[in-house]
């Protein structure tokens, strides 16, 4: 049988950084084809190419070809994709809350009835034929097998229903043949997700080709006829649905050969006899990265990695303890309870945080390098301040001390810049990250949270940042808690790696545990823990 959609040899690079390397994917009509991969594996770039998004063409286009129904096609804009019958159900809903279900399904494809005015002034002045629009919507909703009143306004509908309205909009387009779902179940409850999976099975049976992007592996295994696994911009696995198993997919998704470099030795190896941080039953309400009932003991002086698939809560840990998102539970530092939801107190007690949201939370982008480095410690520890008047609250900034410290940091951390006065906005990602690290260092923390410290920076800078973390750990005895989506990175520098699944700790692995073990644990399956 011919393929409804084929993408052959897709290669794409952004500014010399290759994000897709010869990707092949083919989807048949009547088939659900799952595309799985970690964040940054290239799934969204591939979809941007399929939909002819401007971001692709503004950055030099791509190599490879797209074939729809056996014919090679050029897709240069989303409208081209639409005309070819390729539809997309977005991750975030594209629905207008004040419109009814019908109005949303027919948005910008309204049916009109001509009248005198419209004959003179054009189609825009046709009155809408609401009844016919509602009938069409009803049909689309029935096709999905859901019972939503087509006259209801969107505002107030349960989230799951919004998802269905979104799908109904796509299948109401008469030429729709290939439907792409981008992480469709990320926001659904379990019951809704089940209903949803049943609906897409029905759609496939009616002859649509379905491309299903997800990182919820258990779902993929349930519904997909074919599974393609993407990692680092390459297809690393292609298997029929019948052979796909959660652990196998997880292994493919994250597995990577790593050479663990020889790390400098310590005077005293960390052990369970000396616990610096104990986390009991911690829950963090961070949207998309929820943590619920998380337990962990961190040894003094170790580098511990927090790994897990996106959306399972690994990023929530640091953000929760640092007080950036509402959290509850018990956190003991050196046996003393840390008040939660209080960033100032966390900083005072010797925690520092290098945020995954570097540009949003991590830096004051329009401030200079030196101000960024000095800011937190002058706020929290009254460092870099000078007292001229007898009142303590009237201390002023000690510019000399700030400058001196900044120059040292620039030298020590090798921050490539024009000088300490340069605004951090104009630094590259890697150098921005080094400024973040310098600021954390200025606090002389006992515990450093490094959240996705290498995200969005180029390969050379990545290893520099990792080296710095190791240096902080070895030379300054800092305990480092590092969160990363890149397992390889964790395995390079961590002493132990804790895996988070659905907001809980599944287990702790040694960095040289096998890929299979990591794969299984990331899929939520417990194995024998390492000591």
């Amino acid at each position: 049988m011919a393929y409804a959609l084929e993408m052959r040899g897709i290669t794409k690079s952004y500014f010399g950084n290759t994000v897709l390397k010869g990707v092949d994917i083919a989807v048949k009509s009547g088939e659900i084809h799952a595309l799985v991969g970690e964040n940054g594996a290239g799934k969204s770039t591939l979809m941007n190419i399929l939909f002819g998004m401007p971001v692709i063409h503004n950055t030099g286009g791509f190599e490879g070809e797209i074939i729809v129904d056996g014919q090679k096609v050029e897709i240069t804009s989303p409208i081209d994709a639409m005309n070819l019958g390729i539809g997309m159900v977005h991750q975030e809903f594209m629905l207008l809350p004040g419109f009814t279900v019908t109005e949303n399904i027919k948005l910008n494809r309204e049916l009109g009835r001509p009248n005198i005015v419209s004959r003179i002034l054009g189609k825009k002045f046709e009155l809408l034929d609401m009844d016919q629009m509602a009938k069409d919507s009803r049909q689309a909703l029935d096709k999905l097998g859901v019972d939503i009143d087509e006259w209801l306004p969107i505002a107030g509908l349960p989230v799951g229903y919004m998802q269905f309205v979104e799908i109904a909009r796509e299948i109401d387009k008469s030429n729709m043949r290939i439907l792409v779902f981008d992480e469709p179940t990320a926001v659904l409850t379990e019951a809704e997700a089940e209903l949803f999976l049943r609906a897409i099975k029905r759609l496939a049976e009616s002859g649509l080709a379905i491309l299903f992007i997800s990182h919820r592996l258990d779902e993929v295994v349930g519904v997909a006829h074919e599974v393609t696994v993407l990692r680092d911009g390459e297809v690393v696995g292609h298997l029929p649905g019948s052979e796909a198993r959660v652990d196998k997919l997880a292994e493919l998704m994250v597995g990577r050969k790593v050479e663990r470099p020889a790390l400098p030795p310590r005077k005293k190896e960390p052990s369970d006899d000396d616990i610096i941080l104990e986390i009991r039953d911690l829950s963090v309400d961070m949207p998309g990265e929820r943590l619920s009932g998380f337990n962990l003991k961190v040894r003094r002086g170790e580098i511990i990695g927090i790994g897990g698939l996106a959306g399972h809560g690994k990023v929530g840990l640091a953000n929760g303890i640092m007080g950036l998102y509402p959290s509850s539970g018990t956190v003991l530092k050196d046996g003393e309870e840390l008040p939660l939801n209080n960033p100032k107190e966390a900083l005072r007690r010797g925690f520092a945080f290098v945020s995954e949201d570097r540009r949003g939370v991590g830096l004051l982008l329009d401030e200079s390098i030196e101000n960024n480095i000095a800011f937190t410690s002058s706020q929290i520890q009254n460092r870099f301040l000078r007292q001229r008047l007898p009142l303590e609250s009237l201390q002023v900034r000690d510019n000399q001390a700030v400058r001196q410290y900044a120059l040292e940091a620039i030298k020590n951390l090798d921050i490539r810049c024009q000088g300490p006065e340069q605004p951090v906005r104009r630094l590259s990602g890697g150098n921005q990250q080094k400024v973040c690290l310098a600021r954390a260092l200025a606090l002389s923390p006992e515990i450093l949270f490094a959240s996705e410290p290498t995200r969005g920076i180029d390969v050379g800078a990545k290893s520099l940042v990792l080296d710095l973390l190791v240096r902080f750990n070895r030379e300054l005895g800092m305990t480092v808690i590092m969160t990363s989506s890149e397992l390889a990175e964790l395995r390079m520098i961590c002493d132990r790696i804790a895996i988070v699944y659905q907001g809980r700790l599944v287990g702790i692995l040694s960095p040289d545990a096998s890929d299979v073990e990591y794969g299984l644990m990331m899929a939520g399956k417990k194995r024998a823990e390492v000591s």
């Binding site: 977005h90 207008l96 109005e103 948005l107 046709e126 009155l127």
Partner: protein, 359 residues
């Protein structure tokens, strides 16, 4: 029994929400009733005054509805439309075209001016997304400067003007007030009937009713639907393939044209043109009237416009006398009506930004 207890609380909840929804117009209704009672105004005079003002101002308030539904907020820049109307009225007065024909000519002539100005205003609004209201207000002030430049300095120097009676004695610039006797009440007197001693300008009211009907149907056309979609969420509308910037410009053009006509209806009733002032308060008062009717910067209906007009102008009519009766000083009432006009706008705008932030 069980069913009754189940139904009762829900009904009460609905009543509360109904009251809450209409809190603003209800508050002003109470104020109006109190004002009428205190002022002890002759009922016939009151009805006549309110009716006249209603007929005079309706178009200007209705001109605000389209930008609100297209997400542009309250369009204070209808002053620009009013200026277009005044330009047209100055032209027809200059050429001494009288009566209904004069008014019709003025309406026709105002259209090209209003379209161009509306287009420019729309372009500015597209550059100031999210800050439309303050932009439209400042745009009104800015346009006023240009308008004064033209009619105070350019007329008689660059623009030749033959009709000396309209100009300042020095021969440069227009007079402060221009008598519009030519088109005075041209529309109001077209068809009016006497009901219980009150002259009702049926012609004007019919035109207003017609505009309401047109607006009602317009919002149900393809274009109207697109405007509503843009008004709710620009991004989603854009993803659905709607040309958001174009729709917003069209909305501004419609609003400006309606405002130009509205100002003409206003002027034919007043019968004199305050060359440099007539347009100044147009935006503020129209916006205040609409808000009194319970509209917000994101939601406004024809009914809210109508109710708001009646309440706002009733308050306007009675407040000087109420001030006189209560404090012996009519200025207090005068002060009160200005206070009400600006106060209601301030409250509505604060509410609006608060709502937006909570979203």
């Amino acid at each position: 029994m069980k069913t009754q207890t189940a139904v009762l609380p829900r009904q009460r909840g609905m009543d509360v929400s109904l009251f809450k929804k209409n809190a603003v117009p209800l508050l002003f209704l109470v104020l109006c009733v109190l004002g009428v009672m205190v002022s002890g105004m002759d009922a016939r005079f009151l009805v006549y005054e309110v009716l006249t003002r209603f007929a005079r101002n309706s178009f200007l308030v209705l001109a605000l509805l389209i930008p609100v539904s297209a997400g542009l907020g309250l369009n204070f820049a209808i002053t620009v439309g009013a200026m277009a109307g005044q330009i047209a009225v100055i032209i027809i007065t200059h050429y001494q075209i009288k009566g209904l024909a004069g008014l019709a000519w003025a309406m026709l002539l105002s259209v090209p001016f209003a379209v161009v100005m509306g287009y420019l205003a729309g372009m500015v609004m597209n550059r100031a997304k999210g800050r439309e209201m303050i932009t439209s207000m400042i745009l009104g002030f800015f346009a006023n400067g240009l308008y004064q430049l033209v009619f105070l300095f350019l007329v008689g120097t660059v623009i030749p003007m033959k009709n000396r009676s309209m100009m300042l004695p020095e021969g440069v610039g227009l007079r402060n007030t221009i008598d519009l006797w030519g088109i005075s009440r041209a529309l109001d007197n077209l068809w009016r009937i006497n009901i219980g001693g009150i002259w009702v300008p049926l012609g004007t009211l019919a035109l207003i009713a017609l505009l309401c009907v047109v607006l009602h149907y317009f919002m149900r056309t393809r274009l109207g639907q697109e405007m509503r979609a843009v008004g709710q969420d620009r991004h989603i509308a854009e993803v659905a393939g709607i040309d958001v910037d174009r729709i917003r410009i069209i909305a501004m053009i419609f609003s400006t044209v309606l405002a130009a006509w509205g100002q003409l209806i206003f002027l034919q009733n007043i019968s004199t043109l305050n060359t440099y002032n007539s347009h100044e308060q147009v935006g503020t008062f129209a916006v205040a009237a609409l808000l009194v009717g319970g509209a917000t910067a994101t939601r406004a209906s024809i009914w809210q416009a109508m109710v708001g007009l009646l309440l706002f102008h009733t308050l306007f009519v009675v407040s000087p006398q109420a001030g006189q009766a209560l404090f012996g000083i009519p200025q207090i009432g005068e002060y009160f009506r200005v206070f009400v006009a600006y106060g209601v706008i301030a409250v509505a705008l604060a509410l609006h930004s608060w709502q937006r932030r909570s979203r």
